[in-house]
Symmetry: C2
Amino acid sequence: MIKPSAPLGEFDLIQRYFQKANTNENVLLGIGDDCAILSCNAKNSGEDLAISTDMLVEGRHFLPGANPRWLGHKCLAVNLSDLAAMGAKPVAFTLAISIPTINPEWLSEFSAGLLALADEHQCALIGGDTTAGPLTVSITVFGRVNHSQALKRSNAQAGDDIWVSNTVGDARLALGVIRQEWSLDQHKMSLVETRMHRPTPRVELGQQLLGLAHAAVDVSDGLLGDLAHILELSNLQAEIEIDSVPASDTLQQQSLELRRLCTLMGGDDYELCFTAPNQNRTAIEHLSKEMNLRLTRIGKVNPKITGEGILRLIDSDGHELPAELSQQYLKSFDHFK
Amino acid sequence: MIKPSAPLGEFDLIQRYFQKANTNENVLLGIGDDCAILSCNAKNSGEDLAISTDMLVEGRHFLPGANPRWLGHKCLAVNLSDLAAMGAKPVAFTLAISIPTINPEWLSEFSAGLLALADEHQCALIGGDTTAGPLTVSITVFGRVNHSQALKRSNAQAGDDIWVSNTVGDARLALGVIRQEWSLDQHKMSLVETRMHRPTPRVELGQQLLGLAHAAVDVSDGLLGDLAHILELSNLQAEIEIDSVPASDTLQQQSLELRRLCTLMGGDDYELCFTAPNQNRTAIEHLSKEMNLRLTRIGKVNPKITGEGILRLIDSDGHELPAELSQQYLKSFDHFK
C-alpha cells in the first residue's frame, strides 16, 4: 500500500484496469452489460462448454502482501489448469474481486499479471464484479471441448498407465521454507518459489491428450489425493512407484522422506496427472519430445478389489509401503483441516 | 452459531449440502470433476449463452448474522435478475463460497434457500469451490438467449417508452429503518423488509419481453443510475415523470421527499426497467394483465442533445427539477463510495 486510495468508483475501476478489447471470436458481448454472451453455435459444432470456478482468499491461498502481479497470474492459472485437466481450449473468463481499498498500483499490477496470462491463451475477460471487502478473488473460466472426448475423472480404465507432467513437489518444498518447516539456500528457494507463485497451467498438453488419455486431474491438492478422485469416480485402484515420481533437481537433492512428502502430498503444482491405455505409450513419449515437456509413467491402474485400499505404494526396491504410511501420503490438502 | 463446527472436509461439505441431481437437460456433466460441461449444441441451435457473475460480502451486501436461508435465496436471485435483464432463460450456475467455519445448521439453511430458488427456475448447480475465510459468496449464472434478440443496454432507441415492473423503493425504505435514518411500524417494516431480503428476479418477464422491448436493466443500484447505463451505452437521453414511478402502498404513504429518494435512488429491488417502442404499448399492457404483474410507463427516451444532462426529471405538475437535484437523484450506489 504505497499510495492512498484514489477516488475511483466501481465503473471507473473496471474500465481502467480490466476492460480490454475481446480476444476471442466466441465472445459476442463482453464487459458492460447485465450479462456477457458467448456464442454457442455454428463454427463450434460438436464442441461443448467446459466451466470451472475457484475462489482464492488472502491468508488462506496466498499470504498477505503477496506480489499482486504473481497473484493475478496465479488466480487465472489455477482455473486454466482445470480446463487443461479436461482437455478444453480456453475461451473466456469472469472475475469477481473483493478488495479492501482501491490501490491503483496494486490493481494495475494485479491486472497486468492476470491479463498477460489471459492473452497468452486467447482467453477474454468478459465480465465481473468488483466490491469492497476482504481480499478475495473468484474466477470462472470457460473452454471448449467435445463432451465425448473430455478427460473426465470417471473415464479411467483398468490397465491404464498413470502419468504425470514435468515434476511435482516444488511448490510444497517452497511452502515448507516459508512455514519454517525446513530451510533451503536462497538460490534454490528462488527456483522452487517460482513454481509456487507462478504455476504454468498445462493447457496445451490437456488438448494434446484428447484421444490419447482416458482421464486427467490437475495436481492442486496433492498428487495422491488428486489421483484418488480419478480412482474413486472410475471405481478402480492403482499402484504407484513412489520413487519414480518426477522431482526437480532441487527436490531430488533433499532427503528421501522430504522428497516423498513433497511429491506425493504437495499441492499447488498444477501439473497434470493422467491415465492412458498402455498401447499409447509410444505416442505419449513422442508427444513429450514434441512439446519438450517431461511426461513420466509413475504407475498403473488396476481393477478394484473389495477390502483393499485404493492405492498401493511401491518403493524403489519393489516393496509395498505399510498401509498406515500409504494412508498418510494419501491425505491431500483440505481447506478446512 | 448454535452448534460447533462438525468435522467435515471440503468434499463431504459439497456432497452433503450442495450436490443434487441435475435439473436441466443442458447439463452434460455436473459437480465432481475438474470442470462442469454444458451442452452447446443441437436442440438449442440459434441460442447463445448469457453469463453473469456477482460477489456478495458479509458486512457490505448483507449484515453479519443475516438469515442464511434468505441469504441463499438472495445470492442466486441477484444473478438470475441479471439473466432476466437480458431476456435469458436460466440453465445452470456455479457457487464459490468462503465461510469462516463449517456450521451444519447454517449451511443447511443457506443451501435450502439457494436450491429452492434454483429448482423454481430449473437452474442446476453444476460446480463450485468451498474454502475457509470471511463469509463471501460468488455465483456465476448461465442462461440461454438468442444473441440478436437479447435486451442489451445499447439497444434503446429514441422514441422508446421507459417502463418499470412492479414497484421500486421498498428495499431502500427497509434499509433506512435498519440504518435508523427513519422509522416504520413493525407491520409495515415486515412488508418492505421482505422485498429487501427475498427479492423476486423477473426471469419470466425478461423472456416475455424478447421481441417487445429493446433494452433492459435490473434495478440493483438505483433506478436512475441503472437507467443511465442504458442511456450511456445507447447514446441517448431520457425524461422521467418521477412521481409516476410506481411505489408500494407503504412507500406511497411516506413524504414526497422520502418516496422520491427511495424510488429513484434505492437499489436492491431487482425489478426490470426496460425501453420499448411505443407501438408495443398495448402488447405490454396485455402482458402485464396476463402475468398479473404491474408494468408502468415512467418516461420516454429522447435523442441526445450535446450539452444537456442525460436525464430530465419532471414532477407531477409538469415542471422540470433543477439540474442540481437531478444530479443528486442520479447517484446510484457504489460499493466503494
